[in-house]
């Protein structure tokens, strides 16, 4: 049992009162959970959470979601998060956009039969609005954009790393359920990436690439190498240009998602680009940091390490998912333009493969309202969806289908085959993996 008198974690009188149950039994359980978490991580004290949340617990599936019984205890006690929160994408229940077979839809419906009740409880507990579901909450259309230095308790790994690295906010990689409970309490243990010391770089990554590499491969290579370290990347500003343009933000979002997937990276600094690197430069490097030179060969090795499912069978893919993590509106327009150009070059009207672009509901709404680009994509046979393709693999409905993606994250959590952007378009138009342009 937790002995309040022998805690290493220093609690304020108010926090101790909560732990003793003076503000209700359920809030005491929430506090006890966070205290145990802080004790295990060696934190000295709790700190206040200072901004909106973003959590990974958007699906009602057991083992990922918080159990309904737990949510009901929180709701019945009248508890809500101190700040509103957004959630990862909804499960794939928008069947009109996913072109699933009836038997596949049945599996998904069964797996997410409790989703409506789950969504309702999320709203009761502080979900910002019924459409606040995306893994790219930083887009202006969505508007969950934390301020620099703000203490957060987020969980979606791709969002944590972007908030830390590109926005300069402060969050550890918290797990599912802890995210919700800490934001209800409004407090989180002060440790790791919340501290100045924890944000110092343990790795100097010297990028020596001839051209701007795929962020999907660069992030994966960094994650695989440094695991849960903090990277200070040099050489990327030469290829991206200084500062944080929209293009650079999108690039770093993809890089971070991959680094968080192939390792457990929660923060990277990019020389002359990211906010803390701009302010402190190489002083961010920890005295005992390691150094790694990352060349084109390492990136090729990373690509070569990805398995090629289905390579012995039919090379014709049935589906392509683009947008893991969710696309920005700039990226939607970029893909629209690229698809239009590729079709015109081959004299075709439609893509040869069922292609799905994934983005936040608010981003899709704005894109559709823009008219021409959306109409062209629709005419080309492209579907737009606010869901998460990864969930289809959780539901095991993709078995037997050949699926391709430009996302190294989706590749890691599925049997989808990773195809770099530069060859993906040719495959989408030709319908054949063997028919792509060779360099």
């Amino acid at each position: 049992m937790l002995n309040i008198d022998s805690l290493k974690l220093q609690l304020s009188p108010e926090e101790t009162a909560v732990l003793r149950g003076e503000r209700g039994a359920t809030l005491a359980k929430v506090m006890k959970t966070i205290v145990l978490y802080g004790e295990a991580l060696g934190a000295e004290r709790l700190v206040d959470i200072e901004g909106d949340g973003h959590f990974v617990i958007s699906w009602s599936t057991p083992g990922i979601a918080a159990p309904i019984e737990l949510l009901d205890q929180l709701v019945e006690a009248g508890l809500r998060t101190r700040f509103p929160f957004t959630l990862d994408p909804k499960p794939p229940l928008d069947f009109e956009n996913l072109s699933l077979r009836p038997e596949q839809e049945l599996v998904v419906e069964r797996m997410f039969h409790a989703q409506a009740g789950y969504d309702r409880r999320m709203l009761q507990l502080g979900l910002r609005d019924p459409n606040a579901y995306t893994c790219n909450p930083f887009q202006p259309e969505v508007g969950n954009i934390p301020e620099r230095g703000a203490i957060l308790a987020w969980s979606e790994s791709a969002s944590v790393i972007y908030a830390n690295s590109v926005l300069g906010a402060r969050s550890n990689r918290n797990g599912a359920v802890i995210d919700l409970l800490s934001n209800i309490l409004g407090k989180i243990p002060l440790t790791g990436l919340l501290t100045d010391q924890g944000r110092r770089a343990t790795w100097l990554v010297e990028l020596q690439a001839a051209d701007l590499p795929s962020p999907q491969l660069l992030g994966a290579a960094i994650g695989k190498k440094i695991l849960d370290g903090v990277a200070f990347i040099v050489g990327l500003d030469r290829l991206l240009g200084p500062g944080l343009s929209e293009d650079t933000r999108d690039y770093l979002h993809e890089l971070g998602a991959a680094a968080a997937t192939y390792g457990a990276v929660g923060l990277f600094h990019v020389e002359n680009i990211t906010p803390e690197a701009l302010d402190f430069g190489r002083d961010l490097l920890a005295p005992d940091h390691a150094t790694w030179t990352l060349t084109d060969q390492e990136l090729q090795d990373m690509l070569g390490s990805f398995p090629v499912p289905g390579s012995d069978g039919d090379p014709k893919p049935q589906r392509c998912f683009i947008g893991c993590p969710h696309l920005s509106i700039r990226q939607l327009h970029w893909w629209s333009q690229q698809i239009r150009n590729a079709l015109q070059a081959r004299g075709q009207d439609r893509l040869a493969i069922d292609t799905f672009l994934c983005a936040a509901p608010q981003v899709l709404q704005k894109f559709k309202a823009g008219g021409e680009a959306f109409d062209q994509l629709t005419a080309a046979g492209v579907k737009l969806t606010p869901t998460c393709p990864e969930v289809l693999y959780e539901a095991d409905v993709m078995t037997g289908e050949t699926v391709i993606t430009n996302s190294s994250k989706l590749r890691a959590y599925s049997t989808a085959r990773f195809i770099p952007d530069e060859v993906l378009l040719d495959i989408l138009v030709s319908g054949e993996i063997g028919g792509e342009r060779r360099e």
Binding site: L36, E39, A40, P62, P67, A176, V177
Partner: protein, 147 residues
């Protein structure tokens, strides 16, 4: 020969059991992914990338590992396996516990009726010494005896 190691008792308990050993990071969600959705009598490790544990019964064993790895989605897994009655008896970490395991075990401790005993900081030598099938005795103070 009995070897003794001293770690930090995170969720203390005194018990004995049989060791299962992962010498690589234990991917929690990948390991339990096939045991979560529908009732099962035991949890068979589903992580194909873990050569030591794939296909083995994780339930009621003492799981020895360096630390856990994988998706932040895994935070609810320990609560789920505790509620289903298919959790290991104990987790013995050779390194500092990671944030995902720390959070997951804290949630399971408070929100289920089942304690998963946890000891960390047992050291590299512990993980080099312990073998699958060894009898392990855990004491309240975080002492672990392997025989």
């Amino acid at each position: 020969m009995t070897r003794s190691f001293k770690g930090r008792a995170l969720l203390a308990g005194a018990l004995e059991g049989e060791a299962l050993v992962s010498r690589v990071g234990f991917n929690t969600y990948a390991s339990y992914s096939t045991s979560l959705h529908f009732p099962v009598e035991r949890a068979l490790c589903a992580d194909r990338s873990n050569q030591q544990l794939f296909g083995k019964n994780l339930s009621e064993k003492i799981l020895c590992l360096p630390k856990s790895i994988g998706s932040t989605s895994a935070g609810a897994v320990w609560l789920r396996v505790a509620m289903l009655g298919i959790a290991p008896k104990a987790l013995l970490f050779s390194q500092d516990i990671d944030s995902l395991a720390a959070g997951g075990l804290a949630v399971a401790e408070v929100w289920s009726d089942h304690r998963i005993v946890a000891v960390d900081q047992l050291g590299d030598e512990f993980l080099e010494t312990v073998q699958e099938g060894d009898r392990i005795e855990i004491r309240e103070d975080g002492t672990v005896r392997v025989r």
